[in-house]
Symmetry: C2
Amino acid sequence: MIQSVDRAVRVLSALQGSRRMTLSELAAALGLPASTVHGIVKTLVGHGMVVQERGSSRYMLGPRVLLLGNVYLDTLELRSRTAPWAGELARRTGYAVRTGVLLIDEIVIIHHEPRPDGSRQMPEVGIVIPAHASALGKAITAFSAQAQKAVGEAAPLRSMTGETLTDLAALEAQWEEVAATGVAAEAEEAVLGECALASPIFDAFDGVVGAIGVVIPSTAWPVEPPVREALRETARAISRELGAPTWPGPRIA
Amino acid sequence: MIQSVDRAVRVLSALQGSRRMTLSELAAALGLPASTVHGIVKTLVGHGMVVQERGSSRYMLGPRVLLLGNVYLDTLELRSRTAPWAGELARRTGYAVRTGVLLIDEIVIIHHEPRPDGSRQMPEVGIVIPAHASALGKAITAFSAQAQKAVGEAAPLRSMTGETLTDLAALEAQWEEVAATGVAAEAEEAVLGECALASPIFDAFDGVVGAIGVVIPSTAWPVEPPVREALRETARAISRELGAPTWPGPRIA
DNA sequence: GTCACACGTTCGACATTATCGAATGTTCGT
DNA sequence: ACGAACATTCGATAATGTCGAACGTGTGAC
């Protein structure tokens, strides 16, 4: 692992957390001398990955990261294959549908199909949720030892609401259940008033690549079996389209 | 400028162009030994900035760049301030409205307000257009010497359609005109069938920070004066909200 | 209005660190 | 089963990034 590149990514991560930072704040956050950080930041600025805010001499992320993010979405076969199915699922169930992938120990939303009731909803593509506090996260983690390790190492599990599972053993028990049924659940563990159901998606190379799920208001929870069935069917159909021989697929390293 | 960080960004840029690349392709693209590139790529992979495609051993951008892009949009005051005005402008004119910022010598779209006719339209946030072939680009470049330099250095100007201006002198003449009127135009110079009008946005620190514009079908071109007036008014109003003392603002370094 | 502080920035010597070529392992196609 | 192309690992070299100190600049206090 190359030191300076690693540090550069750390700079971006710091800016991702605390939107706008001075050079000294960045240096303190990384535990490095200001001059060292300056060299890195200056390089990133040169490429538009970071910009210094006009006037205030604070640094923030630059337009180039937006561009990269957009290209990522375009490149992702999972997303293009999933989109039509997500629309169909939203129509059939009446709930919003999300598709996500794993990033270390968090879930990144790569597609969001709004509730079909026509109300104005925030676009949620690009947001992250801890893997241990979301149905999408549980669905993926249950089938990936690597993800389980990452979640375990991130302990103690951060509590988001009073309902968040913070006990690793309890979480591991849920993984077992998810691995058996192919459906993961979450009730107000990430956001109050919001529950969710999710199922893993597999590809031709025999492993989870993501998960798809529905977002359900607490008032409609627990949900009727047909929704659960529709979700399973959708995840299975997408996996088949991606070339997965079985569903659910095997648990991988 | 730190060499290895610079190279890391170049790797990301290469992947941005040719979506999926093998290590050798990357090495060839950067003109470096494979082992050198490997170290960089491995570091990026460790942070989820890059992922190796399952099976094929090709590399592509990772979920982390999406996350960063999303945070960038959230951080941007220009975007949040502009959004309501963009909606208003779209309603008044009946055309789609775009807001963009400059990235070296290209325009990155940071907000897209669809045509109010209710038709399904592609979300265009995150796409890029060469600054010399777009109204947004001309609007910004006319007021920034740095941008003009970048465009000049990128010459020869890439032709997108038969109408694209590829002569730098002709472009410079347009900049003069835009600087005087505060409105830039473009007729099928980027995409056939599409014309555009755009005006620069200034902030409290006396310089362009972005531009807002309307997208107009060729069939409605040239457009009636009221649209032009509405656009100027909108750009002026946003600039005032951002603290700009005058509109148009001064041309900056 | 002046002072003083804090911050970003530049510079140069040092040694840590990235780099590169060769060797190894792995995967693919024949 | 073989060969070739590719990704990956390893280790010696010196080029490179790193760090502390000095400089410049802008900001807030008195």
